[in-house]
Symmetry: none
Subunit: 124 residues, 4 copies
DNA sequence: GTGGTCTAGACCACG
DNA sequence: GTGGTCTAGACCACG
C-alpha cells in the first residue's frame, strides 16, 4: 500500500479515501485481515490516533469490522464492496468529465486521450 | 461561475482551483476584467478576506494581474493560460486513470465508459 | 447542564447520551447556540478533544450543525428532535421494564412504584 | 440465562451486572450451584478469564462463595439477596424517572405508559 | 499484542 | 474567538 498525502486536506480523510480504493480494488481482500493500526500508522508515517480515526470511519461505513483482540478485518460482504467500487468509479468519472469539459475537451477527445495516455506520463 | 465547496478542504484552496478552471477553460477570458473581490465573495458566499487570499495566490502564480486603480485582470499571455489548461488536464487524467485502474478498469473499459456516460448520470 | 460520568463507559459516549437528553428534553432549544467546545469541556471537566469527539458524533447523527467560525447550533428540525425524544423514551422504558421484570416486579407493581416514588428518594 | 453485550462497556462489568440480575431475580437460586466457569464462558461466548474476573468480583461483593473442591455457590443469605434486589430496583427506577422527566414526561404519564406498554413494543 | 480511550498541547482556517 | 486536526504519550480491556 502506497500513501501520498496532500497538505490541504485532513490526513484521516485521505486515508479513508485510499483505504476505500484498496478495498474496492481488491488490494485488501474481502474478509481479509487488516494490518494492526500501529503498523499501518508507521507505514503511512502518521500518528496511530490519526490512522485509528480513519479506520473507525470505515467501520462506521461498514467496510471494516474490528474484533477487539484479534484485529481488524475487511467486510466479507461482497455486495458492499462492489457497491463501493461502483460508487467510487462513478464519482471519479463525474469529477473527471466535469473538469475536462470545463477545460474544453469533448467526450470523443477525452476517450481518445484516455486510450492513448502513456503509462510513462503518469509521473507528472 | 458556479461555486461548490466541500467542508474538508480550505475554502481559499478550493477557490484557487475553481478559478484556474474558469481561466483555463475560457470562462474568464484572457486579458478580461475580473469582478471586484466583494462581488466574487458575495457570489461565492464567502468572506471577502477569503476571496482576497485566493486571488492573491493566483497573482503569485501569474494567472491574474492587478492594477491598483482599475482592478484585476486575467493574464493576457495565451501561452500561460494554455500551459495551465494542459497541466490541469494532465493532472485530472492521471488522477482519474490511477483511481480507475485501482478499481479494476482497463483503458478500453474506461474509454468506452467515458464516451457513453450520460449527462443524466451526473446527478447520482 | 450537569455532568456525571461513570468510569466503565467511554466518557465521549456518556456525553453523547447526555447531550441527546438535553436536546430532546429542550434544555438545549432547537436552533439554539451550543456553548463553545472549550467551554463545554471545561464545564464537564474533560479534555476538549473528548468533547469535540462527542459533538462530532451528534453532528453525524443530525442533532447538531457547526458553522466553522460562528459556533455550533442545535438542529432546528423539530421532527428530528421529536424522533429522538420518542426513541430515547422507548429505549429507557424497554430497559427499565426488562430489568424490573427480571427482579420480579409486575406491571401493576411498577406503575404503583413509579407514581409513588418520592423525589427525595432520587438521591440514593 | 441470556447474554447480550454492548461493545462500549467492559464485558466483565456487563457480566457482573447480568449476574446480579439473575441472582436478585431468583434465576440463580440462593444457595444454588453456579455452573463451572468454562460452561458459563462458553454460554456467554467470552474468554474464561473474563468470566472468572466477573465471578471473582461477585465473590468480593458477597453474592457468591466458592468451595475449592465443590465449585461456586450463590449466597444462601436471603437478606443479602433481597438487599441487592431492592438496591437494583431503586437504581433502575431513579435512572428511569430521571431520564423520563428530562424528556418531559410527568409521573402520571409514565405510570400510564408503563402499564400499557405492550410486549410487542419491546422489539423496535 | 491488539483495539480503544483520553489527555496535554500545538497549530491551522476563517472571520 | 471558534471549530477542526494532529501528535506524543499514557493507560485500559481482553486474550
Amino acid at each position: 500500500m502506497r500513501w501520498n498525502f496532500v497538505s490541504d486536506r485532513p490526513i484521516y480523510a485521505q486515508i479513508v479515501e485510499s483505504m476505500k480504493l484498496f478495498i474496492a480494488g481488491g488490494e485488501l481482500a474481502p474478509g481479509g485481515k487488516v494490518p494492526p493500526v500501529r503498523d499501518l500508522a508507521a507505514e503511512a508515517g502518521v500518528n496511530p490516533n490519526t490512522m485509528q480515526r480513519a479506520l473507525a470511519e470505515l467501520e462506521r461505513e461498514g467496510l471494516l469490522r474490528s474484533n477487539r483482540t484479534s484485529g481488524r478485518y475487511v467486510t466479507d460482504d461482497a455486495a458492499v464492496v462492489e457497491a463501493v467500487r461502483l460508487s467510487l468509479a462513478k464519482a471519479e468519472t463525474v469529477r473527471f468529465l466535469g473538469a475536462m469539459e470545463k477545460l474544453g475537451y469533448g467526450r470523443a477527445d477525452i476517450a481518445r486521450l484516455v486510450e492513448n495516455f502513456k503509462a510513462g506520463d503518469d509521473k507528472a
